[in-house]
C-alpha cells in the first residue's frame, strides 16, 4: 500500500560542480554636461527593462516640522504634471505595459519604470515628465495627505508597525529624523500641502545629484542618447547640499518599554540600538556577523528561538544601513506566555556573539551564502538597477560590487568578533514589546532586565 521506506538512497552528498565564472554585468557610466550620471547595464535576453532615476534627496534631509514631506512629495510626483493629470499619466504608462512609480526613503528618492524594451523611449519620456514637470495639484495633494493620516491610524492598530514605530521612537533622540517614521507623524503630516511638496522637490531634483540607471536588453549608446534628449537641458535648482544627518541616540542606557495591548496573543519584540552607516569600513564583516546572528535561516537567533524553543515563527536581527547611523534591530513575534523567556534568549545571543568567536562552520556557511547568492541576486534587471542606484546614493566606488565577494571571503572569525564587540551593545539596547502586559508584566519586572515603562495607547476617537 505504501512505498518502501527502506529505499536504497544515495548516502553520499554531492560535491559542487565547477562554478561557472560570474561577474557583475559590465556597466557603463557617462556624465552629461549638466552633471546627470547615466548608468547603463546591458543584460542581453532581459526584455523587461528596469529604469530608475535616483536622487540623493531623502526624508532624512527634511526639517523636523515637515516630517513626511519627502515621502509625500514622491507620491505626489505621479499625481499630475504640467501636461497631464494623474489619470492621463497612469493610462499613458499602462498603454505601454509600464508601471511608473515614485518613492522616497531616508536617503533617496527614486522614480522608476519597468517596461518592455521596445517601449523604453516613450516610458522614459513619461519618467522625465514626472521628474521635471510635476504640478502637485492642490486637491490631489490634500487627498494623499489624508490617506497618509488614515494610514497612521491603521499603523497604530497593527502590532508590527506599532512595534517598529515605538522602537525607533525609543532609541533615537527627538532631534533626529530617525526618531519618527520616514512618512512623518500625524502632527507633521497634517500641516503639509502643495507648497511644501513643491519646495521639497525643487530642493532635491537636480541633475547634479541624480543618476539615471537603466538595466536590461538595451544598448549603452542608445540609452545615453535617450537620456541626453530627455534630460540634457535639465538644469534643476542649485540647491545647497544637504547637511549632515542628526542621528543622535536617545540614551546610552537600557530602556524597557511595553506598549500594552490587552488580549494580544503574541508579543512583538524589538531589541536594539543605533547602529551603523552604509559607509562603515566594517561593512563586509558586519554582513557576515549579522548573517550568523540573525540573517540566515540557521542563524543563532532563529535556531534558538524557533527550532529549539518553538517560541516564534521566526527570529532575526540586522542593521539598517543608512547615510547616517540607522538602527540595529533584533526582532520576533512570540507567544505571549514566553515573552520574558524570549527576551532572555535574545540578550543571551547578543552577549554570546561578542564573547566567543564564531565557529569555523558558522563562518564558512555565512561567507559561502553571501558569496554564492551574489549571482542569484542579479538574475533580473530590477535588482541590478536597484543596487547601482544604491551605490550612487551612498557615493560608493564604482567597483564596490566587483570587490564584494573577495571582501566577504576575507572576513575572519576574529573580524566577526571584533565587529560584534564594537557594534552590538546589549547594555545599551532598548527592549520594546507590543503585547498584553497583564500577562507578563510581573515576570518582566522580576527578570531584572531594566525598569519597565508601560505605554497605553488611547483609542483614537476618529476610529470609533
Amino acid at each position: 500500500m505504501t512505498h518502501d521506506p527502506q529505499a536504497q538512497l544515495v548516502a553520499e552528498r554531492p560535491v559542487p560542480g565547477q562554478p561557472r565564472p560570474y561577474e557583475f554585468p559590465q556597466t557603463f557610466r557617462t556624465t552629461l554636461d549638466n552633471g546627470l550620471k547615466v548608468i547603463v547595464t546591458p543584460m542581453p535576453g532581459r526584455e523587461l527593462v528596469a529604469a530608475s532615476l535616483a536622487l540623493r534627496a531623502g526624508a532624512a534631509d527634511e526639517p523636523a516640522a515637515e516630517g513626511g514631506a519627502t515621502v509625500l512629495a514622491a507620491r505626489g510626483l505621479t499625481e499630475g504634471t504640467e501636461v497631464r493629470d494623474a489619470i492621463e499619466l497612469t493610462e499613458a504608462a499602462e498603454r505601454l505595459g509600464a508601471s511608473l512609480h515614485a518613492e522616497s526613503g531616508w536617503d533617496a528618492t527614486s522614480v522608476g519604470v519597468d517596461v518592455p524594451e521596445s517601449r523604453l523611449g516613450p516610458a522614459l519620456e513619461l519618467l522625465a515628465e514626472v521628474v521635471r514637470r510635476p504640478s502637485f495639484p492642490e486637491a490631489e495633494v490634500e487627498r494623499i495627505r489624508d490617506e497618509r493620516l488614515t494610514d497612521l491610524i491603521q499603523a497604530k492598530a497593527d502590532p508590527r508597525r506599532r512595534a517598529d514605530e515605538a522602537f525607533i521612537g525609543t532609541i533615537y533622540a527627538a532631534s533626529s529624523p530617525y526618531h519618527r517614521p520616514s512618512g512623518g507623524t500625524a502632527e507633521t503630516v497634517s500641516g503639509l500641502g502643495s507648497a511644501q511638496l513643491r519646495d521639497v522637490h525643487a530642493r532635491g531634483a537636480s541633475p547634479r545629484r541624480a543618476a539615471l540607471v537603466v538595466a536590461g536588453d538595451v544598448r549603452h549608446d542608445a540609452v545615453v542618447a535617450l537620456a541626453r534628449s530627455l534630460f540634457g537641458d535639465w538644469s534643476g535648482t542649485d540647491a545647497t547640499p544637504a547637511g549632515p544627518i542628526d542621528d543622535t541616540a536617545a540614551t546610552d542606557a537600557r530602556v524597557v518599554r511595553v506598549v500594552h495591548r490587552p488580549g494580544a496573543v503574541q508579543s512583538e519584540i524589538r531589541i536594539g540600538h543605533r547602529g551603523l552607516p552604509r559607509r562603515t569600513p566594517d561593512y563586509h564583516a558586519v554582513s557576515v556577523m549579522s548573517a550568523i546572528l540573525g540573517g540566515l535561516f540557521n542563524s543563532r537567533l532563529n535556531m534558538n528561538l524557533r527550532e529549539e524553543k518553538g517560541y516564534t515563527y521566526g527570529a532575526s536581527a540586522g542593521f539598517d544601513l543608512r547615510r547616517a547611523r540607522g538602527p540595529f534591530t533584533a526582532r520576533a513575534a512570540v507567544n505571549t506566555e514566553v515573552t520574558v523567556a524570549a527576551i532572555g534568549e535574545f540578550l543571551t545571543e547578543l552577549d554570546r556573539i561578542r564573547d566567543e568567536p564564531v565557529t569555523d562552520t558558522e563562518l564558512k556557511a555565512a561567507r559561502d551564502f553571501l558569496v554564492g547568492v551574489f549571482p542569484l541576486r542579479f538574475e533580473t534587471p530590477g535588482p541590478v538597477a536597484g543596487s547601482l542606484g544604491g551605490l550612487f546614493i551612498h557615493d560608493l566606488p564604482d567597483d564596490e560590487l566587483d570587490r564584494y565577494r573577495d571582501a566577504v571571503e576575507a572576513v575572519t572569525a576574529a573580524d566577526v568578533q571584533r565587529v560584534a564587540r564594537e557594534h552590538i551593545r546589549p547594555e545599551a539596547a532598548a527592549i520594546v514589546v507590543v503585547g498584553d502586559h497583564d500577562q507578563f508584566g510581573t515576570a518582566l519586572d522580576d527578570a531584572g532586565v531594566g525598569d519597565v515603562e508601560v505605554v497605553r495607547d488611547d483609542v483614537d476617537p476618529a476610529a470609533g
Binding site: 559542487p16 560570474y22 490587552p262 488580549g263
Partner: protein, 433 residues
C-alpha cells in the same frame, strides 16, 4: 511584444516521478522545484492543518540530513529556498548557483525517500509550536486577519475541503500524532504523486541522470486514494453577510464570490476584470472610491484560483474615517454591476492586457518562477505547456467575455459580505479583550 517561449522536456521515471527540465543559460543560476499533489483539500475532518504541519516536518531532517540541515546546506551553497502549502498542493523549491543543482536534487530525494527515519516526537512538537506561532502572527494578531477563513467558510459548505483554512485548527494540530504524520507521508509523498521541475543553467541529460540516481530508488505508491468529488453549484445560491468586531481602527468590507474553477476561460476573464476594476489609479473602483468620491482608503479585487469545483473572487474596500459603511458597499457593488451590464472600453481592455503581458515577461524572467509554473501546470492540469499558452489565453479574452463573466459571478445570490468594524471601547478607554 514577444514573450519568449519556454522550451522544456517532459518525461517520467519508472517510479512515476514526472521530470520537467527547462534549460536557459542566460545566468549561472538554476531552480529546483517539487510539487506534491497534496494540499489542505486532502485533509479530513479532525485532521485539518495537517498538510501544512507536514511541510514544516519536511525541514526537520531525513536519513542522511540532520534537523534544519536542509536549510543550512542550501544557504551555504549560495541558494535560497522555501516550501509552501495551499489548498490544492504543497511545493518545495531551491534556487541555487547552477553548479549546486545536484545538491538540491539530492536533498529533495533524500526527504522524499527517507523522511520518517528522522522523524521524532521532539521535532513534531517543536514544529507544532512554530506553526501555532505562524497562525498567531499571520492571522490572529493581525488586523482583519480572519477574513480568508471566514470568506472560505461561507463560500464552501462544511463538507467541502475548501471550507477550512490551510493553517487548520489548533485543536486538530494538538491531536496530531507521529502515526498520523507517518500515514500522511506514506500516502502522499511518493514519486508518482510529485513533479520535479528544474529550470535554468543546467544540462537536460545530466539532470535526468541525477534524477535517476537520487529519486530512482524510491518506490511508487500504487494506491494513492483518489480525491472525492469536489464539484459544487456554480452559485452560492444566496447572499451571506457577517459583521465582525475586531481590533481594527477602520471598517473594511470584504466581498467574496464563487468563481469558475482554475483553468476555465471564465476565470481568465475575471483576472482581467480585477485589473480593470482595482489595478492602479485609472481603474474603475479605485478611481471612483479612492480618488473621486474619497470614500475608501484602499480597494482591491482579485481571484484565488482553485481546481476543486470553484475558485474565489475576492474584493475589499477600507472605509475612510467618518464615511458611512453602507455608502462604500453600495458604490463598490454598483461598479461590479456596471461591469456586468456594459462591456469595458477597448482602451480599458488594451491597458489591462498590456500590463498582464509585461507582468508575464517579468515573472518568466526568473528561473524560480519558471520552474514553479511548470510544476503547477503539470500537477493541476497535466499540461506544463500551459506556461507558453496562458498569456495567449489572457490576450484572447474579449470585452464581452469580461462583461459576461462579471454578470455571471458578481451576483447578489453569489456573494458573501463580511464587514469588519472596530470593537466597541469599554469605559476605561481600552478596547475590550
Amino acid at each position: 511584444m514577444p514573450v519568449p517561449v519556454v522550451q522544456f522536456s517532459d518525461e517520467r521515471l519508472p517510479n512515476g516521478l514526472r521530470l520537467i527540465v527547462a534549460e536557459d543559460h542566460l545566468a549561472p543560476v538554476a531552480a529546483v522545484n517539487v510539487w506534491y499533489d497534496v494540499g489542505s483539500k486532502h485533509e479530513v475532518e479532525g485532521k485539518t492543518g495537517f498538510a501544512h504541519l507536514f511541510e514544516h516536518v519536511m525541514f526537520q531532517g531525513s536519513k542522511h540530513v540532520g534537523k534544519a540541515e536542509h536549510m543550512a546546506l542550501v544557504q551555504a551553497a549560495g541558494g535560497t529556498l522555501n516550501g509552501t502549502t495551499w489548498l490544492d498542493r504543497t511545493n518545495y523549491f531551491e534556487t541555487v548557483p547552477s553548479h549546486q543543482v545536484e545538491l538540491a536534487i539530492w536533498l529533495e530525494a533524500d526527504r522524499m525517500g527517507s523522511l520518517l527515519e528522522a522523524l521524532s516526537q521532539d521535532n513534531l512538537d517543536n514544529q507544532r509550536d512554530v506553526v501555532k506561532n505562524e497562525k498567531r502572527w499571520s492571522y490572529d494578531n493581525r488586523p482583519y486577519g480572519s477574513w480568508n477563513e471566514k470568506l472560505m467558510g461561507h463560500l464552501f459548505p462544511a463538507d467541502h475541503p475548501y471550507h477550512h483554512p490551510t493553517i487548520g485548527s489548533m485543536e486538530d494540530l494538538d491531536a496530531a500524532s507521529l502515526d498520523d504524520v507517518r500515514a500522511f507521508f506514506a500516502t502522499y509523498y511518493a514519486p508518482n504523486n510529485a513533479v520535479l521541475s528544474v529550470a535554468g543553467d543546467v544540462d537536460r541529460s545530466q539532470v535526468r541522470a541525477w534524477a535517476d540516481r537520487y529519486f530512482g530508488p524510491i518506490a511508487a505508491n500504487p494506491s494513492i486514494p483518489p480525491l472525492g468529488d469536489l464539484s459544487l453549484p456554480a452559485l452560492l445560491g444566496e447572499e451571506r453577510r457577517e459583521v465582525v468586531e475586531d481590533n481594527v481602527p477602520l471598517p473594511r468590507i470584504y466581498f467574496g464570490f464563487r468563481a469558475p474553477a482554475f483553468g476555465d476561460h471564465g476565470l481568465d476573464a475575471l483576472d482581467l476584470a480585477g485589473q480593470l476594476l482595482t489595478g492602479g489609479k485609472g481603474s474603475r473602483i479605485h478611481r471612483r472610491l479612492v480618488r473621486e468620491e474619497r470614500l475608501a482608503q484602499d480597494v482591491a479585487m482579485f481571484t484565488l484560483p482553485f481546481t476543486g469545483g470553484a475558485s474565489v473572487s475576492v474584493g475589499w474596500a477600507t472605509v475612510r474615517p467618518g464615511v458611512d459603511v453602507d455608502t462604500v458597499e453600495r458604490a463598490y457593488l454598483e461598479e461590479l454591476d456596471r461591469l456586468g451590464r456594459e462591456a469595458p472600453s477597448d482602451d480599458e481592455l488594451a491597458r489591462a492586457k498590456a500590463l498582464t503581458e509585461a507582468d508575464e515577461l517579468g515573472a518568466l524572467a526568473r528561473v524560480e518562477e519558471r520552474a514553479d509554473r511548470l510544476s503547477m501546470y503539470a500537477t493541476l492540469f497535466d499540461d506544463p505547456g500551459l506556461i507558453n499558452t496562458m498569456l495567449a489565453r489572457y490576450l484572447s479574452v474579449t470585452k464581452e467575455q469580461i462583461r459576461d463573466a462579471a454578470a455571471a459571478t458578481y451576483r447578489a445570490d453569489n456573494r458573501v459580505v463580511l464587514t469588519y468594524v472596530p470593537k466597541a471601547a469599554d469605559e476605561t478607554g481600552e478596547a475590550a479583550a
